[in-house]
């Protein structure tokens, strides 16, 4: 679909943003109805045993909000950086024919730097998991 204002955005005949919102509304209604029916038909007999977190039959001790290794945080931040680079690569990809070889060399350098970054974190052990990870 073209950006709004062109080609009647509110027309139900066009496969545009209106149809997308109608579909979204349908999906919401279905999920809501499912949850409503289940809360209507379902049993409601709470007991302390049911409310307790399942730990294979052992009574849970301590807080459940564990702290977990820093590696997960590193993955999230690497993902963020690569995602931003991905946004540039996608904006190039969609126009790659019009941009020609000049654009190709620009993206070549861009991806080269990206791969250098990947190689760096790889060599430094940023992608290692488990006890054998070098620190």
């Amino acid at each position: 679909m073209e950006p709004i204002l062109n080609s009647a955005p509110f027309s139900p005949w066009e496969p545009g943003i209106f149809a997308l919102f109608a579909y979204g509304a349908w999906v919401l209604v279905i999920v809501a109805v499912l949850l409503f029916i289940s809360s209507w038909l379902g049993e409601k007999k709470p007991s302390p045993e049911k409310g307790r977190a399942y730990e294979s039959g052992i009574i849970p001790t301590g807080t459940a909000r564990l702290r977990y290794p820093v590696s997960f945080y590193l993955v999230a931040i690497f993902f963020l950086i690569f995602d931003v680079e991905g946004a540039y690569i996608f904006s190039w990809a969609v126009a790659c024919r019009q941009l020609g070889w000049a654009g190709w060399f620009q993206i070549l350098f861009f991806i080269f730097v990206l791969i250098m970054g990947l190689v760096y974190i790889w060599r430094k052990g940023g992608l290692e998991w488990g006890p054998q990870a070098k620190s």
Binding site: P15, A19, G42, G51, A53, Y54, L118
Partner: protein, 329 residues
């Protein structure tokens, strides 16, 4: 005004049909999976409810609807209650940009066989799949259970890692088609032939990343039974568990549809009408994923991350540069 009302009616019918088929196939995919998996393991699988156990999905959904919906004590109630809906919603909404046929003419108007052909369709799918991560991470966090939290964190880290590979593997497809619109991508393949011939490497990367995104064996670490119980949906019961289930199977279908749209020519095929071809391709991809589940052992977490970051992402990046040169020659 009358044409507007007629259009609204047609739209409603179309949307109801699409949703009906999506949910019906999701329910029966569970049956197919259980039956196929059972045969792979020399068992019978469900065979009590109806002939060949064909009524099993109906029995299952009735059971889920009538079960108690428990909320663990100390759970973050609202987040806990909404997280499964996020998973189901994002999976269902993703299908909105998948074209499932050409056009049909009703009352002299052409009705396109796609819900919404926005010109950033491919990015719309990535946006939704990155929002789907919240369902997993928050569902695990809100349960106030150690297993669930571990599963949620594992799942979120796995999903974001493979989302990168998934995204980068599709850049060559965008370059070949010159558009983000899924309708244009299918259209380009009708002219040039399926992109799997041009981009076998991208196809393999996408297929592996898609399998990881669906969080099934061999990539099911977020819900690894023998390590985490049930992982992020440990504390869920009743229909909320059912929503995670619906989300998973609709996601499998959508990924099958995406593989079909990006690499296998979409709804184009000889003799049969478009929607049927798309459904056949979706089912073939789903069967392949079930087969993989029945054959492969689960990966270790370090292996999982190594495949994503050290194999798929560098390969996808090199593939982009090489394809760029080929497109320009």
């Amino acid at each position: 005004m009358l044409t507007y009302a007629a259009g609204l009616l047609m739209l409603t019918v179309k949307l109801a049909l699409v949703l009906g088929v999506l949910l019906f196939v999701a329910a029966y995919l569970v049956w197919v999976e259980r039956k196929f998996l059972a045969r792979l393991q020399v068992r019978y699988g469900p065979n009590r409810a109806g002939i060949f156990g064909l009524l099993q999905p109906i029995a299952d959904s009735l059971k889920m609807l009538t079960k108690e919906d428990t909320v663990p004590e100390d759970a973050d109630r609202i987040v806990f209650l909404l997280a499964p809906a996020v998973v189901a919603l994002t999976a269902l909404l993703m299908f909105a940009v998948v074209p499932f046929g050409g056009t049909v003419t009703v009352w002299g108007r052409e009705i396109p066989m796609v819900i919404s052909d926005i010109n950033v369709g491919l990015l719309y799918i990535f946006a939704l799949s990155s929002l789907g991560v919240y369902g997993i991470a928050l569902g695990g966090w809100a349960s106030n259970s150690k297993f669930a939290l571990l599963g949620g964190i594992r799942g979120a880290a796995q999903l974001i890692s493979y989302e990168l590979a998934l995204g980068l593997s599709l850049v060559p497809v965008v370059m070949l088609a010159g558009s983000f619109s899924l309708v244009d991508i299918v259209g380009a393949q009708a002219v040039k032939g399926p992109f799997i011939y041009y981009q076998p490497l991208a196809f393999i990367i996408f297929a592996i990343a898609a399998a990881a995104e669906s969080m099934r064996i061999p990539f099911d670490l977020p819900e690894a039974e023998n390590e985490l119980g049930a992982g992020f949906h440990m504390e869920y019961s009743g229909m909320r568990f059912g929503l995670f289930f619906i989300g998973e199977y609709v996601h499998v279908q959508v990924l099958g549809a995406l593989i079909a749209v990006f690499f296998l020519g979409g709804w184009h095929g000889p003799f049969l009408p478009g929607p049927v071809w798309l459904l056949i391709k979706i089912l073939l991809v789903s069967l392949f994923m079930i087969w993989m589940r029945g054959t492969l052992p689960r990966l270790r977490y370090d292996q999982l991350m190594a495949i994503g970051w050290k194999v798929l992402i560098p390969l996808a990046l090199v593939n982009i540069v090489v394809t760029g040169a080929f497109v320009l020659i």
